[in-house]
């Protein structure tokens, strides 16, 4: 009897023991955001500006905006050290403008906000150039920089800014009309801590009509920016992460021939659809296509509209996108907005002496009422209201030179950008979703 009972107890216990699954991993209490998943498009507590330029003929201005009142520190790094530091404060409904204090040459800088998130834009104006765009707030796993070229007489430079304490090592994936470009010079580039490395792509990959770069960090982190110098003008645009859809409120302007360049770093092709929107609200022709994986595609936007227009491109997988627009004398480029929002921070429009054009894109099906408020360092604000019909863009001229930024709010989702032209030279810039 004892044997049977013992056997039964032991058998049942062993049976149940062997049926027990291993305890599962702890269930997260809340859904956390990892660095790789963190949005790189919104306002943040810091911004990295890998390029500005100042000399006797050119000047760069940093436009600094905050979601709320905040202090900021703008540090210029050179030779591994902070060479200059400018501190300031932004109160409610103000935006700051800081002139580049560095005497000569290109600079890399970073901005840290103390209490509120914010955004920064850089505009460089002077002889032979009008260029600028947003500074980068987030750091994606890899950076897409579509839209370059190294034709005769052009200079294409990739600036890799490493403001951090650890050396970074990156691989560059280059795509041109020849396909994937290979070369030892594109692999294992070291960017020492607190320094900027300049990669002259026109020397490494000369005479490419369309050249896109993807920066993939192997160790550490960098913030890249692309500079395309045609001799008559310079375009600068930041790197971005990949996204499933992009909106470009400022994709085209009268007198400029625009191209949309898309990059895919995955091995699976991405099918895309391009929709265009102009002031008329009319149905413009759509374009579909496919980005081979990995690879790039350059789509001409010429002839879409006789006026200024914006575009939306959506894909069935993540991809990078940039618009590059040219004229005989000017070149402009920008990256798109990865998301729509009801609030936007627009740093920089007042810097350009001849004025700027704020571009608002409503790709939705209902009319929107948007309020744009100009902000100055002194706190003088002026608010205006504009109606944006569905499937259309609206352009607003901003002429006041004291304006350091704009805050746009709307009753529905939209995207915002701006553009400027001076003496035939041109620039496009994006904005940062807020709120």
């Amino acid at each position: 009897m004892t044997r049977i009972l013992g056997l039964a107890v032991a058998a049942v216990a062993v049976l149940f023991a062997t049926m027990q699954p291993a305890p599962g991993p702890p269930v997260p209490a809340v859904e956390a955001i990892s660095r790789a998943e963190a949005p790189t498009v919104g306002a943040s507590h810091f911004a990295h500006c890998p390029w500005s330029r100042s000399d006797s003929l050119r000047n760069s201005s940093y436009s600094v905006m905050g979601e709320g009142p905040t202090g900021f520190d703008l540090s210029f790094l050179e030779g591994g050290e902070v060479e200059d530091r400018v501190s300031g404060r932004i109160d409610t409904d103000t935006a700051a403008r800081v002139e580049n204090p560095r005497p000569v040459g290109a600079s890399s800088a970073m901005v840290e906000f103390s209490t509120s998130v914010g955004s920064v834009g850089v505009v460089t104006v002077g002889e032979g150039l009008l260029a600028g765009d947003l500074c980068s707030g987030g750091i994606p796993d890899s950076w897409h920089l579509p839209g370059g070229s190294t034709l005769e007489g052009e200079s294409l430079v990739l600036r890799l800014f490493n403001p951090f304490t650890a050396d970074a090592r990156v691989d560059l994936w280059a795509f041109s009309e020849l396909g994937i470009e290979a070369g030892e010079t594109l692999e294992g580039l070291t960017v020492p801590a607190r320094r900027t490395r300049v990669v002259a792509l026109e020397e490494i990959l000369p005479r490419r009509e369309s050249l896109s770069i993807i920066v993939r960090p192997v160790a550490g982190s960098v913030i890249p920016v692309m500079l395309l110098d045609t001799g008559a003008d310079v375009a600068v645009w930041p790197g971005t992460g990949a996204g499933d859809g992009w909106e470009f409120p400022a994709a085209g302007a009268v007198g400029l021939r625009s191209d949309l360049v898309l990059t895919n770093e995955a091995s699976i092709p991405v099918n895309f659809l391009i929709e265009a929107f102009d002031e008329s609200g009319a149905q413009l022709p759509t374009q579909v296509g496919r980005i081979e994986g990995p690879g790039q595609v350059r789509v001409s936007l010429e002839g879409l509209s006789s006026s200024g227009f914006g575009v939306r491109v959506t894909g069935d997988g993540p991809f990078g996108a940039a618009v590059v627009a040219r004229s005989e004398t000017g070149i402009a480029a920008t990256v798109g907005a990865q998301t729509t929002a009801t609030g936007w921070l627009v740093p920089g429009p007042g810097v350009v002496p001849s004025g700027s054009r704020l571009r608002l894109l409503n790709a939705g099906v209902t009319e929107l009422t948007a309020t744009y408020r100009t902000l100055t360092p002194e706190g003088r604000t002026r608010a205006n209201v504009i109606e944006i019909p569905p499937n259309s863009v609206r352009t607003v001229h901003i002429a006041a030179s004291e304006v350091a930024g704009l805050r746009v709010t709307a009753r529905g989702p939209l995207t915002v950008g701006w553009l400027a032209t001076v003496s035939g030279r041109a620039m496009f810039s994006g904005a940062i979703p807020s709120g």
Binding site: T2, R3, L5, G6, L7, V9, A10, A11, A13, V14, F16, A17, T18, Q20, P21, A22, P23, G24, P25, P26, P28, A29, V30, E31, A32, I33, S34, R35, A38, S44, H45, F46, M110, E112, G138, I139, P163, F164, T165, A166, A168, P217, A219, G220, S221
Partner: protein
């Protein structure tokens, strides 16, 4: 005599690397604290040094190891003696138990081997769960007391119960829930032998040992003890499990007399223990599953002993199949015994290589006030002792510069731990460019990654923590040093105070000192102020101390008195009952 010689040889073979080279630092096997007396002060109602500190009582094994360290002196030596002593006591105790159960010398020795080196203990060793190894020393003596001959008078009963209680305490102080094993064993043995006495003695031993779990048990509560901590989930290889199953089943079916009683008892204890050890998915915590593993080890040893003596128990009027089955049980038991020697070549009870020696950088790079805190992150198996998890599952823990055993267990998270978690979540999300500035508030001077971790990834994009090139504490890891002064205790004037566990010391001056420990009003001396999640006390005394929790202090002292009392009573009766034989 032969048994003794073989037993000593077995212990020497199993522990020769520990004897020759000392213990590695791995898992919960951490160096004992520098001052045993100060550890005992902290244990008795003082400040728990784990994480950002707590008034919560420490694990009983911290008090026990400190007390033994105080008696033996030295740190590494005491830990080594304790480990080898526990293994030796485990073998000797199992030999005594099996002998008292009336089985052969061979059964005694093989059972001793299986108990201290079988798969449950090897599993604990591989996990670096040092207290599990230390618990081996007391348990078999406790079980031997349960099956001993019943005394004839009150003095005899007193001594026997004291010995069982003391042996149970010696096991429970390291694996607290092993306290129930003598009672369970008594119940099963009483059922098998149809005597009520073993149940009473086993239960009495468990009850008498209960005070040694104080104040830890009263601080955490029974429910907290049963379910807290990352559970183990032993998964024995087929070559360990199949012979044991064959030996147990065959012995239970065909053996006779004492061998079958022993085999049945072992099978029930071992199988129930195995079920408990794998009950993590049912909510069992670390302490519960460890106790299950210890019970499995004891059960396996009893099964093997019974199976080895199965042929001898049959006599001559037995059928051939039954005889064959008994010999099969014996062979299977021998296989179990032989496979238990798998850890013998390494000679360190299955403990892994030293993992934490590299953490010595904290001492070598410390400033004059001593090492500040290190934030460790990496895969769980590469972190010392317990760890916490961020909401995304990232493991991390703090160590206070010099890694020692009292820090192995982490107390319940308090205000400061929540603030640290929030900081780390922001860091991972890429929202912090200057983590050094934020971590300095916690006294964290270094971030060390013992392997891949989102925290380590985030360190690639920040401005105020310098990577220490060439210093690695694990594969794919790294160490970053804070550029911002990061002191555990700092005065208003920015002067660092030293952590001299469990107190802080520094220069006497006016003003106050911020103590980066979880806020508790018992910090002093003088007027205490809460500074966010931390403490602020006057600097006049040149020392900051935790006043202590009176009830915990009383319980700890009472536990010490009970142990001394049990030891005294055991010694007295041991002389009078030296002739104890099998029951």
């Amino acid at each position: 005599m032969i048994t003794t010689v073989l037993g000593v040889a077995l212990v020497l073979v199993l522990t020769r690397s520990i004897i020759a080279e000392g213990l590695p630092a791995t898992g919960y096997l951490l160096p004992l604290a520098e001052s045993a007396w100060d550890t005992l002060r902290a244990y008795a109602g003082g400040w728990h040094p784990g994480g950002l500190g707590s008034p919560e009582p420490m694990h009983p094994s911290v008090g026990a190891t400190a007390a033994i360290q105080l008696l033996l002196g030295g740190r590494g030596g005491a830990a080594g003696i304790l480990t080898v002593g526990a293994v030796a006591a485990g073998v000797a105790g199992m030999v005594a138990l099996i002998r008292r159960l009336g089985l052969s010398r061979g059964a005694c020795l093989v059972a001793g081997t299986v108990f201290v080196a079988g798969f449950p203990v090897l599993w604990l060793g591989a996990e670096g769960y040092w207290p599990g190894l230390l618990a081996l020393g007391g348990l078999p003596w406790s079980l031997a007391g349960v099956v001993g001959r019943d005394p004839e008078n009150v003095r005899g009963w007193t001594g026997r119960l004291a010995r069982v209680g003391l042996a149970t305490a010696a096991s429970a102080v390291f694996v607290p829930l092993s306290i129930v094993i003598p009672a369970l064993f008594g119940l099963v043995w009483a059922s098998v032998t149809r005597r009520g006495c073993p149940l009473v003695v086993g239960a009495a031993g468990s009850v008498l040992a209960l005070p040694v779990l104080m104040p830890w048990l009263s601080g955490r509560g029974v429910a907290g003890v049963l379910g807290s901590g990352a559970p183990f989930h032993p998964d024995p290889s087929w070559w360990a499990a199949v012979p044991l199953l064959v030996a147990g089943t065959a012995a239970m079916v065909v053996a006779r007399g004492r061998p079958v009683s022993v085999a049945v008892t072992g099978a029930v204890i071992g199988s129930v223990g195995f079920f408990v050890a794998r009950a993590g998915s049912m909510g069992a915590g670390q302490e519960t599953t460890v106790a299950g593993l210890i019970a499995t080890a004891a059960g396996a040893a009893l099964v093997v002993a019974g199976a080895l003596d199965a042929p001898a128990s049959l006599g001559i009027d037995v059928s051939l199949p039954r005889t064959a089955a008994a010999y099969a049980a014996m062979v299977a038991a021998i296989v179990v015994g032989v496979t238990s020697l798998i850890a013998a070549p390494a000679g360190r009870m299955g403990l892994p290589d030293d993992r934490f020696g590299a953490f010595a950088f904290a001492s070598s790079r410390a400033e004059s006030h001593g090492p500040d805190r290190v934030l460790l992150t990496g895969p769980p198996e590469t972190l010392p002792g317990q760890h916490r998890l961020l909401p995304d599952g990232t493991p991390y823990r703090l160590i206070g510069g010099v890694l020692d055993y009292p820090q192995a267990w982490l107390p319940e998270a308090r205000l400061g731990d929540a603030a640290l978690e929030e900081t780390l979540v922001g860091l991972i999300a890429g929202q912090e460019l200057r983590p050094g500035e934020l971590l300095a508030r916690f006294g964290i001077r270094w971030v060390a990654a013992t392997g891949p971790s989102p925290i380590a990834d985030a360190m690639s994009a920040q401005l105020d923590m310098r990577p220490l090139a060439g210093l690695f504490v694990g594969e794919s890891g790294g160490v970053w040093e804070n550029d911002v002064p990061a002191y555990r205790a700092m005065t208003d004037r920015g002067v660092a105070w030293s952590w001299v566990a469990p107190d802080y010391e520094g220069r006497q001056a006016g003003g106050s000192v911020r103590i980066a420990e979880n806020a508790d009003h018992r910090w002093g001396p003088g007027a205490w102020q809460q500074d966010g999640w931390a403490n602020r006390v006057p600097t006049e005394a040149g020392v900051a101390t935790f006043g202590g929790v009176g009830s915990y202090r009383f319980q700890a002292r009472a536990a010490g008195v009970v142990v001394i009392l049990l030891a005294g009573l055991s010694l007295v009766r041991a002389r009078r009952e030296a002739g104890d034989g099998p029951a």
